[in-house]
């Protein structure tokens, strides 16, 4: 039994049957991590693996022996470097948060830990979750376990790398415009972006607050249901969190595909940038649905053409606002030339933020300034309302919406890092989901001839997590 290749829910069963201890599990991941670090091209999925995990595992094993039956007792997980865990560093892959130790835990991590789960480490990311490759991390890029010369995707690339690379059974990532689904797709994992409001954002460092959601990366559909079942639900610390009970997702049945109404957005299939191999794999996915009695139809959603522009207007406006607090006064990096506040801010922010983050702050502030850009932000908001409405209309007629997660497979490290526009287009198929606030699960649907994973996303209506997970489960069961 190779622990490192098991799923989160698989390990749960082995812990509960007594075949494995938590300590064995944690030590296996530690050993895998340390061995990998000695290779010539290490994954570098973790920024830090916690020494505290072994002690926590020992305590979990003792608790189990004493009759503790918490659902995630002794199961380790990794979390992206922008999700707070009390007493641990939380740097968002940025120099500006150097030395910042979170004095409180995010609701998602505290709920996982309350259910008995053990934080294993914090994972690499593009600085402040801005990027699609982890190359914008102040700690340098992570590698794709499938092919180490390729990016694992981003911004939650570290989370994808550790799960796909056998260094953690499950990882939390965050999404603003595809940052969980894209790396899941590039690394051959399941990656869920839940409905906006399903998971609390409290303690998760904000990028674009009206778009941000915590996501889950895993090797199986059940793992995602299990993690959601303990993390979801109203949080008094997040006004935008939804009051819902997802505890039933701890056990999932495959959906009946017969009669399932599936929409395929025509606009995405026309895209010139779509890799023909991905188009072909997507075609076989559609065939799979048809062969099981689903009604698969192409729909036209013209407003999707505006999604990526609209996304950048809103996401960068909110990012410029959210990143204002990093001023060197209270925590993190401070560079003080000793000439006054303005100089302190300029020095700290110039040195603390990387080029991509600065680019986005400048664009965001430009958009927000009526002085410079007129009503650009307002226009972005009204386009978004239109996207929400038109996507809502699709779910009036269809149960799920199906499309590729990315127009391309994982690309070589270094190939787009100096071309921000090419990098932005990695989000071509993902941002409308965040704008519309709907849930979407990237499912590993196959691989190219070169063996690179291809993901297809199953999108559902608001709070349709259960539906899309069950559909994915049916697909998973048929493999």
């Amino acid at each position: 039994m190779n622990i490192c290749e098991m799923s989160f829910s698989g390990l749960k069963a082995k812990l509960e049957s007594g075949e494995l201890t938590s300590l064995e599990i944690v030590r296996s991941y530690r050993a895998a991590y340390e061995a990998d670090n000695l290779t010539s091209k290490p994954l570098k999925g973790y920024i830090e693996m916690y020494d505290s995990a072994e002690e926590a595992a020992r305590l979990a094993d003792e608790a189990r022996a004493a009759g503790d039956k918490r659902p995630l007792l002794g199961l380790p997980f990794a979390a992206k470097d922008n999700i707070s865990i009390k007493g641990k560093s939380c740097t968002c892959g940025s120099r500006i948060l150097q030395g910042y130790v979170a004095p409180y835990s995010a609701t998602v991590t505290s709920r996982l830990m309350a259910a008995g789960a053990i934080p294993l480490g914090r994972t690499n990311m593009d600085e402040f979750a801005m990027g699609s490759s982890t190359e914008y991390s102040a700690y340098g890029p992570s590698r794709n376990p499938v092919n180490r010369d390729l990016t694992p995707g981003g911004s939650s690339g570290g989370s994808a790398a550790v799960v796909a690379g056998g260094q953690a059974p499950l990882a939390l990532g965050t999404e603003t415009g595809g940052s969980v689904r894209l790396p899941a797709s590039y690394c051959g994992l399941y990656g869920l972006k839940p409905t906006y409001g399903t998971l609390s954002r409290s303690g998760v460092v904000a990028f674009g607050s009206s778009l941000d959601q915590v996501g889950i990366l895993s090797r199986s559909v059940d793992d995602i249901g299990l993690a959601l079942s303990v993390m979801a639900g109203k949080d008094p610390l997040d006004d935008t969190s939804a009051d819902l009970d997802l505890s039933s997702l701890a056990r999932l049945e495959g959906a009946d595909i017969q009669g399932l109404r599936v929409a395929l957005p025509e606009e995405f299939m026309r895209e010139k940038g779509l890799d023909p191999e991905i188009a072909a794999i997507f075609g076989t996915a559609c065939d799979w649905f048809r062969s099981r009695g689903a009604i698969v139809e192409t729909v036209s959603i013209p407003v999707l053409e505006a999604a990526i522009g609209c996304y950048y207007v809103i996401a960068l406006s909110e990012a410029a606002s959210n990143l204002s607090r990093f001023d060197g006064i209270r925590y993190g990096l401070r560079k003080d030339p000793g000439e006054g506040y303005d100089e302190l801010y300029v020095a700290t922010r110039s040195d603390g933020f990387g080029a991509e983050v600065k680019r986005r702050i400048v664009i965001g502030n430009y958009v927000l300034s009526t002085h410079f850009s007129g009503d650009c932000y307002k226009k972005g908001m009204s386009v978004r309302a239109r996207i929400q409405r038109d996507i809502g209309d699709v779910f009036g007629k269809y149960d799920i919406l199906l499309c590729p997660t990315s127009p391309t497979v994982a690309f070589p490290l270094g190939s787009k890092v100096d071309d921000p526009l090419a990098m932005y287009l990695s989000d071509l198929y993902t941002t409308f989901v965040n704008l519309a606030r709907i849930p979407s699960l990237s499912v590993p649907m196959g691989a190219t001839k070169a063996g690179l994973p291809v993901g297809v996303q199953i999108c559902g209506p608001h709070f349709g997590e259960e539906r899309i997970l069950k559909v994915a489960k049916a697909w998973e069961a048929s493999r």
Binding site: R201, V204, A206, D238, S321, Y377
Partner: protein, 505 residues
């Protein structure tokens, strides 16, 4: 209150060769008395050890999210109703960006285009305390909710200290139309708002602690050779006393007149000076002109859902407004027949007004109660620097005292003694009167017996009276009172002395 009762105070002044009108609009920041800060569970209280009432939210730590307090929105709506505003049932929060060390997030949570309250009215009473009201209407443009920032303390040398206890304290900003026509009216506006907001329990109105701060926007309309000019608007920031508002505005009027004479500087849209008031020097100090224009880059606050207020919520808020000072004055005048001066003095503070009213309702003579409260009770408070709550007596004591006087149980002189004792001990007047055996004797037979005794002891007085020296009546009455240890009903004693003297003549 109908507009017909209001007066127009726009007045043309002259200064040498120039005639001008003064135009002032005010923005008042007022800290609200909610149990917690606006967006977190930290206690909302003034002062204390620096940085002891802080949490991830009010420190703006990464990942922390604001949760609007229900009491905050409710108190804002109550204030809106008290100032006759309309309340927006759909409202939201926005972010206003600027950098300053005491601003933890690089933005302040405020309300930009949809304020909680809009289009209200405040009536200023321009009359003196002993005059009938003369009311002037000032329109309120809007009231919005926003959070306060921390406090910076700059010390000599290289360091500054910041106290974030105030960070996230709930504020309302009340913005008036430019309806004030003099520095006095601007100060009166703040004073009137303070009175109303204290009445409804929205704020403690503590000016020294900065619970209310006023920014005044002021400019002049100058008439010269049949032409009309306007001077550029000056905004004088952060004044926290009525005196500084009066003095700063007066100073600014003179300064603008002088500037107009020398530079003929005239109003242009968008040009605005920001000034501070240096209380010690007695002059305004330039802080900023349009050249250092700040672009606040407003954005919707995405961490707080839009606020939709239910009819039920609003009905409850409206019901909590209670009686406002002007209404109370009107009613006291009507119900208790009190003078303008008495009414105005009794109603400046809600606590005093309610105290008085409780006593008046229990008593047969509200006017007497008013006299006691205004003369005796307030004197004690002033002397001791105390508040009503500190006293051992309550409204029931004053009511009982006034009732005992009215029934003739005690004399006015005795009443003062009783008052002094009840202040000391908190005993009810009836108990004191009984314990001291003070009850006034109104039994005619008993007093007559004393009168007879006194007349027997003073035959010379009877002779004097017979000779026409009527002043002996007073002296003899005094002797009767003395003999009765002050308990005889003085009027009855005087009557009996007259009567018995006449009999013995």
């Amino acid at each position: 209150m109908s507009d017909t009762r209001t007066i127009d105070t726009a007045k043309v002044h002259t200064d040498g060769d120039l005639s001008y009108e003064v135009i002032i609009g005010c923005e008042i920041h007022c800290e609200l008395l909610t149990p917690t800060k606006a967006f977190c569970a930290c206690e909302n209280r003034y002062g204390g050890m620096p940085n002891t009432r802080v949490c991830p939210v009010c420190l703006g730590l990464p990942g922390a999210m604001p949760i609007p307090s229900r009491e905050y929105i409710e108190l804002g709506a109550i204030a809106g109703y008290a100032l006759s505003c309309g309340i927006n049932k759909f409202t939201k929060f926005d972010r206003k960006h600027y950098f300053y060390p005491d601003l933890v997030k690089g933005y302040q949570i405020t309300q930009y285009d949809i304020p909680l309250c809009h289009d209200g009215i405040v009536m200023l009473n321009l009359a003196a305390a002993d005059e009938a009201p003369r009311l002037k209407k000032v329109r309120i443009e809007r009231i919005h909710l926003e959070e306060d920032v921390g406090k910076s303390l700059h010390v000599e040398g290289t360091h500054s200290y910041i106290d974030y206890n105030r960070s996230g304290v709930p504020l309302i900003e009340i913005v008036s139309k430019p309806d004030m026509s003099s520095p006095e009216e601007a100060a009166l506006f703040m004073q009137t708002l303070r009175e109303i907001l204290r009445y409804i329990g929205a704020t403690d109105g503590n000016l020294e602690e900065g619970s209310m701060r006023c920014d005044a926007n002021i400019n002049l309309k100058i008439f010269e050779n049949g032409k009309e000019f306007r001077t550029p608007i000056s905004e004088i920031k952060n004044m926290n006393s009525f005196k500084s508002i009066r003095e700063a505005c007066s100073y600014e009027i003179k300064r603008q007149l002088g500037e107009f004479r020398t530079d003929r500087q005239a109003y242009t849209a968008g040009f605005k000076r920001t000034l501070g008031w240096d209380e010690a020097k007695g002059e305004t100090v330039l802080q900023r002109t349009k050249n250092s224009f700040i672009d606040y880059r407003f954005v919707v606050e995405p961490d707080i859902r839009p606020v939709v207020l239910s009819d039920d919520f609003l009905a409850k808020a409206r019901a909590k407004v209670g009686e406002l000072p002007a209404e109370k004055r009107e009613r006291f005048r009507r119900e208790f027949g009190l003078s303008d001066f008495d009414v105005n003095t009794l109603t400046t503070e809600r606590e005093l007004a309610e105290w008085f009213e409780a006593a008046a309702k229990d008593s047969s003579d509200p006017k007497k109660v008013a006299n006691w409260v205004l003369a005796e009770v307030l004197a004690v408070l002033n002397e001791r620097g105390a508040s009503l709550a500190d006293l051992k007596i309550g409204p029931a004591h004053i009511a009982a005292l006034v009732n005992a006087l009215a029934k003739g149980t005690i004399t006015s002189r005795q009443a003062k003694d009783v008052f002094a004792e009840m202040l000391d001990t908190g005993s009810m007047p009836d108990a004191i009167i009984a314990a001291r055996g003070m009850a006034q004797v109104s039994d005619e037979g008993a007093i007559a017996a004393i009168v007879d005794q006194i007349l027997d002891e003073n035959p010379a007085a009877i002779v004097d009276f017979a000779k026409g020296k009527t002043n002996v009546v007073g002296w003899l009455t005094g002797q009767v009172m003395k003999k009765s240890r002050g308990q005889a009903n003085p009027a009855m004693a005087a009557d009996l002395v007259q009567k018995k003297l006449a009999e013995r003549r």
